[in-house]
């Protein structure tokens, strides 16, 4: 792997008159070495490349709704449409358990994080293959690509948030108090889970394009296993614990608790979800970093 050190020291002496106004910049020493045995996330290097991360994110945001009629309105239309179908099918026909929360609020509070997670996972899993030209021609920390793809759908999430706020106003269900501060933390959990899986699948996708077909199937069943259209607290405890292995269950229950004053999630189950998310993140990162040196060779 490579490392980048910034040497502010010694002469950044003007060698050429061409850019004399820029010679104040620090001279960079780059050391190129074989990949380390133990993969880690090189945070200082990521920080050094933060501007590129910003550019990649803004590129994807700008391009995302280019040449569409509704544009960014899709960020509202997609969760609303999904929620309407869920409310009619699962709320009216099937009478899914909703606890004390109004069913439409319950559903939209599940759909929004799930929508985020689905976009983030799809985007990050495809990120390396989609940026083939960059990967084979220029050096930058490859982790920026899945990272940018996990940040981009946050914009959609924020744009879709007023739908939930409108329902909260309509049903007059407001956060109980300080627990609203936990809301970003639960989204952070979704972020970490998506990033960990994104690391893993994007690295696998470099060699096996099967990933492209696996992800949609996975995302089709995931809402059912995360309690998007029902309250997890209302199902038998044994099943709650099985679903708790899925970090998105903790995200959605926690988010409802924080935003809608729904029932407090079981701390043990939440802790299990967090632990699984952490394991996915570390495992995904290890796979990503250890196959990173071969990306350009085998993409």
């Amino acid at each position: 792997m490579t490392e980048t050190k910034i040497e502010i020291a010694e002469s950044a002496a003007p060698k050429a008159p061409l850019d004399s106004e820029l010679t104040t910049q620090a001279e960079r020493l780059v050391v190129i070495r074989p990949a380390p045995r133990w993969p880690h996330l090189d945070v200082p290097e990521l920080w050094h490349y933060r501007e590129l991360l910003g550019r990649l994110v803004s590129r994807d945001v700008v391009v995302r709704y280019k040449q569409t009629f509704f544009g960014i309105a899709w960020a509202v239309l997609v969760p609303v449409f999904t929620a309407v179908v869920y409310v009619i099918v699962f709320g009216k026909f099937a009478n899914f358990p909703a606890g004390d929360t109004p069913y439409p609020s319950l559903v939209i509070a599940g759909v929004l994080p799930m929508q985020y997670f689905a976009s983030a996972l799809t985007g990050s899993s495809m990120s390396l293959a989609a940026n083939l030209q960059l990967v084979t021609k220029v050096y930058f920390p490859r982790a920026l690509l899945p990272l940018a793809s996990v940040i981009v759908p946050m914009i959609d999430f924020v744009v879709g948030l007023p739908v939930l706020l409108a329902l909260m106003w309509y049903y007059d269900t407001w956060p109980g108090g300080a627990e609203v501060l936990f809301a970003p933390l639960f989204m952070g959990l979704a972020f970490v889970t998506a990033l960990g899986l994104g690391f893993f699948f994007s690295a696998i996708n470099v060699r096996y394009r099967d990933v492209r077909y696996m992800i949609p199937v996975f995302l089709q069943v995931l809402p059912l296993l995360s309690g998007v259209m029902y309250d997890v607290a209302a199902i038998p405890t044994k099943w709650q614990w099985i679903l708790a292995f899925n970090p998105m269950t903790a995200v959605i229950s926690g988010w409802r608790w924080a935003m809608l004053d729904a029932s407090t999630p079981n701390p043990g189950q939440t802790a299990l979800g967090v632990a699984v998310a952490a394991a996915l993140f570390l495992g995904g990162l290890a796979v990503f970093r250890s196959s990173e040196p071969r990306f350009a060779d085998s993409i």
Partner: protein
């Protein structure tokens, strides 16, 4: 002089099996693994290929270093390691200063984004800070000549505008170290000319350049020093002219000199060619010819018996194998059958005739058997040498340093009248 690139024992191993599996599906890999586990299929001999082996070199600041070698010698792998696209298997490199390579021209351009957005994106990809891009933005736009369309998505650009914009971003990166792979550089002749022009401009301002090329004449012209790679190993390192001469000596089956034993000499019962020699002017290493100077093709042949009138002939070909010209000695002494004996004939190809590049020569001793020429003794790919334009302004190319097409490069006489 400070060392700006220091490579120590660089090695890069590729596994052939890795290439084989690279595009496989998961199922193929799994069934392969299962078969191996159950012993139904032996492990495919994973052959390790060392693309680079213990390569060490140092480049002092301001030097222009050429890297030459055959296809597959490891030149591009070396460049990929230095640009950090791939990592070495062992060894290390220290690089001081910003690295740019013309490989990256247009990398990351997105067709949906405007010219302006692409400048910022591409600049960030190449490692420029926002402040630097802002400072150079106007210069980049002006250089590219697309001012009017800077807020139009680049998908509406013509390909020429696209390349100009991409190139102007890369050209304003102003790296301290420039890595150039001529083989991989894309684009048309005009674009390559720009690249070479930019390179000369940068080297004249004291930038360090590492130049990988097949064009030995460009290496000889631009580089102070060259290293030659052979199967991933540095086999020569020294002044560019010497390394190139050495390389030419090995690579061409032909060289600048050939000698045969009497019984192995090519020919028939009438004539045999004994030796060949390319005579270049002094001061140049063997195998390299100044485009402005004449070069002699010396042929020693023995006439065994006096049967037919024979004469020496040469055919000159460029590096693509196109025939530049044929020439024979039309002197009247060859009108009659020559008496047996040893003859030394030298054909002088004038200066300012051949174009730059690798030139090969075929020689023959023939007689006319209308409508054909009868070859009594002939050597194909007999000699070869590298013609080089030192760019001092007095060749047909004048002070221009870019690509100059044509099999020949004659210096014409120009007349002009002013009214």
């Amino acid at each position: 002089m400070a060392v700006v690139i220091e490579a120590q024992d660089l090695s890069k191993k590729y596994r052939i099996g890795e290439f084989r599996a690279a595009y496989g599906t998961l199922r193929e890999s799994m069934s392969y693994a299962a078969k191996r586990l159950t012993g139904r299929e032996h492990r495919v001999q994973d052959r390790d290929i060392w693309a680079l082996r213990d390569v060490s070199f140092e480049v002092p600041e301001g030097q222009v270093l050429g890297v030459i070698g055959r296809n597959g010698a490891g030149k591009s792998t070396l460049l990929k390691i230095l640009t950090r696209i791939t990592t070495p298997t062992t060894g290390r490199v220290e690089i001081r200063g910003r690295v740019g390579s013309l490989l990256e021209v247009g990398t990351g351009f997105h067709s949906e984004l405007t010219g302006r957005e692409n400048i910022y994106l591409n600049g960030a990809i190449l490692g420029m800070k926002r402040r630097e891009i802002e400072q150079r933005f106007d210069a980049m736009v002006e250089f590219s000549g697309v001012e009017k369309f800077i807020d139009t998505p680049v998908k509406r650009y013509s390909s020429g505008m696209y390349v100009r914009l991409a190139f102007s971003v890369a050209a304003h990166l102003e790296p301290e170290i420039l890595l150039i792979d001529e083989v991989l550089s894309v684009g048309d002749a005009e674009f390559q000319r720009r690249c070479l022009g930019r390179m000369e401009e940068l080297s004249s301002t004291g930038r360090t350049i590492l130049f990988v090329s097949h064009q030995l004449s460009s290496v000889a012209q631009l580089c102070d020093r060259a290293i030659q790679l052979e199967s991933g190993i540095v086999v020569a390192d020294g002044p560019a002219a010497e390394v190139i001469a050495n390389y030419l000596h090995q690579t061409h089956s032909a060289g600048t000199q050939r000698v045969w034993d009497e019984d192995a000499a090519p020919g028939n019962d009438l004539v045999r060619i004994l030796s060949l020699h390319a005579l270049s002017h002094d001061g140049m290493p063997p195998g390299i010819v100044d485009v402005r100077r004449p070069i002699g093709v010396e042929m020693v042949f023995r006439v065994l018996r006096s049967g037919k009138p024979v004469f020496p002939k040469i055919k000159v070909l460029d590096k693509e194998g196109a025939v530049a010209f044929n020439a024979m000695d039309t002197h009247e002494r060859w009108h009659e059958p020559a008496p047996p004996g040893e003859y030394t004939s030298t054909a002088w190809i004038p200066g300012n005739l051949l174009n730059e590049g690798t030139v090969s020569v075929e020689v023959a001793v023939c007689s006319v058997d209308f409508p054909k020429l009868e070859h009594h003794a002939a050597v194909y790919e007999a000699l070869s040498f590298e013609v080089l334009d030192p760019g001092e302004g007095d060749s047909a190319r004048g002070a221009f340093s870019g690509q100059w097409k044509g099999v020949v490069r004659p210096l014409l006489e120009w007349t002009v009248e002013e009214r």
